[in-house]
C-alpha cells in the first residue's frame, strides 16, 4: 500500500523529541507492562512496543503503526516512574501515534480511525472557545455516565454556573469566561505555524474519504467510529 514517509518511517520517528527523551536502552524487565492500566484490560504490551522501536526495522514499524496496539495506552505515564532505565514508553507511544497519523497508517486500524473524533471535537473546542472541554458542547446524550445530576447540570447550565460563581461566557476574569477573540485568533495562528492545522485538516479529509468509501455521510461515519467497539479483538481473554 502507498502511504506518506514510506521507506523513511524509522528516520521520521527518531526525529521526535519524545523518542529522544523516552527511548534509552530497554533491558526487557517488563515492569512497564506489569504496572500498565491498559495492559491489564487490553491485548497490550508496552515492553514489546519498545522492543520493536529499538530494532529500527522499517517493515516491523509499518506493521506497528497500522495496528490497534499503539492506541490502547491511556498516557497515564505510570510506566515512566517504574522503568529502571529511565525509558518512557508512554512518550514513545505519543511519537508513534503522531507518525501513524502523519503517514496515514492510522486509518488501517479501528482504534486509529478514532482519532477523527478527538481531533474534531477537542480542536473545535480549543479554536472556537479556548477550552479543551467546554460545557455547552459536553452533551448528556453522548455522555450518559454523567448521570442524573449531569443531566440536571446540562438542563440548567447557566443558572448553576451563576449560582457557583462562574463567569460563563462573560467578559473579564473568572471560570468559563468568554475567551477574548484576540486570544482565540492567537491560538489559531499557533495552530497554523506549528502544524496542528495541517494535521487536523489531514485527519478530517481522511475521515471524509473513508466515509465516501463506506457510502456514509460524515455524520454517520463519525457516529460509527464513536461507537464501534469490536471488544473481543481488543480485550484480554
Amino acid at each position: 500500500m502507498e502511504y506518506r514517509y514510506k521507506g523513511h518511517l524509522v528516520e521520521e520517528l527518531y526525529k521526535d523529541y519524545r523518542i529522544k527523551e523516552g527511548m534509552k536502552a530497554c533491558m526487557n524487565c517488563g515492569v512497564c507492562t506489569a504496572v500498565c492500566p491498559a495492559a491489564e484490560f487490553y491485548k497490550y504490551n508496552p515492553k514489546n512496543i519498545v522492543n520493536i522501536v529499538s530494532r529500527k526495522n522499517e517493515a516491523d514499524l509499518e506493521e506497528l503503526l497500522k495496528s490497534d496496539t499503539i492506541w490502547y495506552c491511556g498516557e497515564c505515564m505510570s510506566c515512566v516512574t517504574r522503568c529502571p532505565r529511565a525509558n518512557a514508553p508512554g512518550l514513545v507511544i505519543m511519537a508513534l501515534r503522531k507518525l501513524a497519523m502523519r503517514s496515514g497508517l492510522y486509518m488501517e486500524s479501528e482504534k486509529g480511525r478514532q482519532q477523527y473524533i478527538v481531533v474534531k471535537d477537542l480542536n473545535s473546542n480549543v479554536l472556537n472557545y479556548g477550552y479543551c472541554v467546554y460545557p455547552r458542547t459536553f452533551a448528556y446524550e453522548t455522555h450518559p455516565e454523567y448521570g442524573p445530576v449531569g443531566k440536571w447540570v446540562c438542563d440548567h447550565l447557566d443558572d448553576i454556573h451563576a449560582r457557583l460563581g462562574s463567569n460563563l461566557d462573560g467578559d473579564g476574569p473568572g471560570g468559563l469566561r468568554r475567551i477574548p477573540q484576540e486570544s482565540l485568533d492567537q491560538l489559531k495562528k499557533i495552530y497554523d505555524v506549528t502544524g496542528a492545522t495541517e494535521l487536523m485538516e489531514q485527519v478530517l479529509n481522511d475521515a471524509h474519504e473513508e466515509a465516501v468509501k463506506r457510502n456514509m455521510s460524515d455524520e454517520e461515519y463519525f457516529l460509527s467510529v464513536y461507537t464501534t467497539n469490536n471488544a473481543e479483538k481488543h480485550l484480554n481473554p
Binding site: C76, M77, V80, I160, R163, G174
Partner: protein, 356 residues
C-alpha cells in the same frame, strides 16, 4: 505498614515553594465540572490568607488534553504554553500556578525538555513570535494549586470549624488520597513526596484530623486515559480502572476520597454510579457511594463553607452522609437552588445508588 518509617521517607521529599505572588491559570475540566473548587481556591488564598493570586483573562487552555489525546503536535502544545508564560511575564509575575494536573505535567515536560534540548526552546520562541508577536520568560517557580493548599494546610487548620472526624464516634475519618498521575509520575522530583510517597494530599488529611487509608491500588490511575474516555467505544477502559480501585479500597471502608486532579473526582464519582446501575453494587455504607472530592472542596468543608456554595450538588454520589459524620449543618432545600433561591427542579434518583 510502619507509619513512622513512611513519615520519615515522606519528609525527605519536600520542596521549597514561594509564599506569595502567583500567576494563576485555570483548568478546562474543573471550570466545567467543579467550578466551586476554583472559586474556593481563590477565596481561601486571597481572602482568608491574604495572598496575591492574579488571573489574566487572556489566558486559555494549555492544550494538554488535546496533546494527550494526540490531536495536536508537541510543538503546538509547547507554543500555547509559551504564550501563557508570556502573559505571566507581561503581567509582572514570576511564580506560576496551575489548577490542572494535566497542565502541570505538560508545563513540567515542556520546561524539562527545553532544558535538555535548548534548540527546541529556540524553535518554540520563534513559533511564538511568528504567531503572536510575543516573547516569554520561563517561570521562576512552577506549582500546582494543590501544592499551595498543602503549603498553607496548617494556616487552614487554624481556621478549621469541622475537622475530618466522625462527630458520633470521635474517631478520625478514613480518607483515601488519589493523586493525579501527571502530578509526579513523569517527574517525581516536581511533586511533594515524589511519585512513590506523594505527601501533597496526605499532609492535608493529617493536618485536618483525618486518617490516611493505605490500600493496594492506591497509585493506580483513575482510568481517564484521554481518548479512552472521549471516544464512547473506549469507555470500558476508564470504568474498568475505576472499578479496580474501588474493589481494592472497599475492605478499608473509606469515608471519603480526596483528589488533586480535575478528571479523577469526575471518574471516581460517575463510574460509581454506573457500576451501581450495572451491577447493583455500591461502595459506601447503606447503599450510598463514597464521596470523591477535590482538595478545595475538602478544605472548604473543614473551614465551614456552605456545602452548596462549594458546588457539592454537582457530584452524583450523595454528600449528605459525609456532612452528617462531620457534623456540618446543611439545608436540603437549598441543594438544587439557583441564585436567590430560584427553583431549578432536581435530578432524577438513580435506580441503585442512593442519592439522598
Amino acid at each position: 505498614m510502619i507509619i513512622e518509617g513512611k513519615q520519615k521517607i515522606w519528609a525527605d521529599y519536600q520542596k521549597d515553594i514561594p509564599d506569595d505572588h502567583y500567576f494563576y491559570v485555570r483548568s478546562c475540566i474543573r471550570q466545567a465540572f467543579w467550578p466551586g473548587s476554583e472559586v474556593t481556591f481563590l477565596d481561601i488564598t486571597r481572602n482568608k490568607l491574604g495572598k496575591d493570586f492574579y488571573e489574566n483573562p487572556y489566558h486559555t487552555t494549555c492544550g494538554g488534553i488535546a496533546y494527550h489525546s494526540d490531536s495536536i503536535p508537541q510543538e503546538t502544545a509547547m507554543t500555547i504554553i509559551a504564550r501563557q508564560f508570556a502573559l505571566m511575564h507581561e503581567s509582572g509575575y514570576e511564580n506560576y500556578v496551575c489548577s490542572c494536573i494535566t497542565s502541570f505535567g505538560c508545563y513540567t515536560e515542556t520546561l524539562e525538555t527545553w532544558h535538555e534540548y535548548p534548540e527546541l526552546e529556540a524553535k518554540i520562541r520563534q513559533y511564538l513570535w511568528d504567531s503572536c508577536k510575543k516573547e516569554f520568560a520561563k517561570p521562576k517557580y512552577l506549582a500546582h494549586a494543590s501544592d499551595l493548599i498543602y503549603k498553607f494546610r496548617f494556616d487552614i487548620a487554624k481556621q478549621m470549624k469541622f475537622p475530618l472526624v466522625n462527630v458520633k464516634t470521635g474517631k478520625p475519618l478514613k480518607v483515601v488520597e488519589h493523586i493525579g498521575c501527571h502530578y509526579s509520575k513523569m517527574f517525581p522530583s516536581k511533586g511533594f513526596g515524589g511519585a512513590e510517597y506523594p505527601h501533597v494530599l496526605v499532609g492535608m488529611i493529617e493536618a485536618w484530623g483525618g486518617e490516611v487509608v493505605d490500600y493496594p491500588e492506591r497509585r493506580h490511575c483513575c482510568g481517564f486515559g484521554f481518548r479512552q474516555y472521549f471516544v464512547q467505544a473506549n469507555r470500558g477502559y476508564s470504568e474498568s480502572n475505576t472499578y479496580k480501585k474501588f474493589e481494592s479500597m472497599e475492605p478499608y471502608e473509606p469515608d471519603l476520597i480526596i483528589t488533586n486532579c480535575p478528571g479523577c473526582p469526575y471518574f471516581l464519582d460517575r463510574w460509581q454510579y454506573v457500576i451501581a446501575e450495572q451491577t447493583g453494587k455500591t461502595y459506601g455504607k447503606n447503599g450510598y457511594g463514597i464521596p470523591a472530592l477535590t482538595y478545595e472542596e475538602v478544605a472548604g468543608l473543614v473551614m465551614g463553607y456552605d456545602p452548596w456554595d462549594l458546588g457539592l450538588q454537582m457530584h452524583q454520589v450523595a454528600i449528605e452522609p459525609l456532612l452528617e459524620k462531620m457534623g456540618i449543618p446543611y439545608d436540603p432545600k437549598k441543594k438544587y437552588q439557583g441564585v436567590n433561591g430560584k427553583d431549578l427542579g432536581q435530578p432524577q434518583c438513580p435506580s441503585c445508588i442512593k442519592s439522598v
